[in-house]
């Protein structure tokens, strides 16, 4: 049971003071080329890794940031984590992954506890934590840097990476209109999710742009879950005349719509087109594969970490969506 080497052992072997080893580790100037090489050689040979705890305690920074999330979708959480973690790691930071409960009374004090305990240098907030205004206020007051991914509220202030949900929903609606649909239904997400209102707005705007009257009968509220997609679809298919296309606010609800259509033996996409949003892994696992909007989740998280830690001075970045046409949509029936 060997234990970790320390900076002093390295310095002894390299024949320098431990302060010089510290300089090499931190890439400071004012170290002669030869000294630097010698130290680096010893560091590599001993497989020396500086103690994170000691650096944090002694220094002004901890090189630690936390990603806060409260999202029930494994797919979304996984990709946000992956994108943020890779970028943080590349920039020399450790990322702490912290699930929270946005509705809990003690959200703010729980997060502040983490901030203190870990001496955090900053935070990355993913939706819906982005909408916890009391938390944003507390972080502002504390002077702690943070960046938000796809924020709804206070969009224009502070650091944020985002995608244009309105434009993306317009693109999908346009696709459906282009292949001949006029009676296009929309299943929206819960009103508490800002993205779901933006998507509804895009659907509305695009209909208007084509001179198609907005029909409130064709909009049903779901909650982004598969089951709510099935219920909304049953309601929509009872309208007369029946819609020829259903645009669901996310892929889970679109999968629910597909299931109902299969159950009722409706020909897809011959009699009914169904579209989703997100391009989650579900989109290609269902039949027919979903026409959807690819949301660059991973890239959004990557960009957020870069804004927080990259030191470029930029504060906001906007990434593009992509319309992906698969087999769940087709020409409107005659």
């Amino acid at each position: 049971m060997s234990s970790r080497p320390t900076i002093k052992e390295v310095s002894k072997i390299a024949g320098v003071s431990f302060k010089t080893v510290s300089r090499v580790l931190n890439n400071e100037k004012h170290v002669s080329e030869e000294t630097r090489r010698r130290v680096e050689e010893v560091v590599a040979r001993l497989n020396f890794r500086p103690s994170h705890a000691a650096r944090t305690l002694a220094g002004r920074r901890s090189f630690q940031v936390a990603l806060l999330y409260d999202n029930p979708s494994p797919y979304y959480v996984y990709h946000v984590q992956t994108g943020a973690q890779q970028r943080c790691s590349a920039l020399g930071y450790r990322l702490l992954l912290q699930p929270v409960d946005v509705l809990a009374d003690d959200l703010v004090s729980n997060v502040m506890a983490l901030v203190d305990e870990a001496h955090l240098d900053g935070l990355i907030l993913s939706p819906p934590v982005t909408e916890a205004l009391a938390l944003l206020d507390a972080l502002d007051q504390r002077g702690l840097p943070y960046v938000r991914i796809a924020p709804g509220a206070r969009k224009d202030s502070g650091m944020a990476s985002m995608m244009d949900d309105v434009a993306a929903a317009r693109a999908m609606t346009r696709h459906l209109v282009d292949v001949g649909h006029r009676r296009i239904a929309f299943i929206r997400g819960a009103k508490t999710h800002i993205s779901s209102s933006d998507r509804l707005e895009g659907y509305r705007q695009e209909l208007e742009a084509h001179g198609i009257a907005f029909d409130p009968e064709l909009v049903v509220e779901g909650d982004y879950s598969f089951r709510s997609g099935t219920e909304a679809t049953r309601a929509l298919l009872a309208r007369t005349p029946r819609p020829t296309a259903i645009f669901a606010g996310n892929d889970d609800m679109a999968a629910g719509a597909l299931a109902v259509a299969h159950e009722l033996d409706i020909d897809l996409p011959g009699e009914l087109s169904i579209a989703g949003f997100d391009d989650s892994d579900l989109a290609q696992a269902v039949w027919p594969p979903l026409t959807t909007i690819r949301q660059p989740v991973r890239e959004l998280a990557d960009a957020a970490a870069e804004l927080l830690l990259g030191g470029s001075g930029e504060t906001q970045i906007s990434l593009d969506h992509e319309l992906i046409v698969r087999k769940s949509t087709g020409p409107a029936p005659k």
Copy 2:
């Protein structure tokens, strides 16, 4: 921009030495009830949280463990994380989530770097990191405690939480036989995944138990991906006579099988039954919803963390699977 209070400020206000505050924080004995109450009151009022870095540096333990994973399935990773994190947190430990590359040459040195840097008290390995024997050896040599989730190799030694894949695959095969199937195909996962061999073995044993001859023609190798499920299914449906049921080694491949069946307009489950394994979120999003085996992923991770940190002295725990019958399987066609 206020900053964190320290143990000394707490002690000053409470009118005791900072050593006494330390005793209260660590729940040590030999503190009078009254002193304890007074200190706790100040701690709560200042919202004081001890510095993790300082505790780690001064103490013998860091209260930090890492979860190592290298799994392409968001669903699996999410549930392993959730289960492990909740238990660690309840036991007063922080869990570092660390993606690794099991095939990389520097796997061992990367993990050891993390161990040193973070002063880890232990590790939780999820598959397929569980099979990296060089890593297990290095941890053993270092005397570092670790626990494995669903290990394949060295099953009987060390701490581990597991499920009986052989028995689970037998249960599924039995279900198919019970509803009248005799020509049952199996899509296995890659041979590098030990679980996939166990599932094949269970399929084989159960056929034998019913006096059904094992037919190598009815076993095709996939790699746990949706696409490999589609390819395997096309190959299987070309056999004559056609199998009446397909048992896929996981839900992703089963979803691929469903897609091919839909494409070929095969009646499900009238002409063909399809079964999966895992009960991932996919299982209920496809049509028809999948008959599958529920693998208690979250509970396995929870149990692993408990074995590692709970101090019960137990070393192994085995959890039960559950057969879940949905609409993708039914009676064999006449």
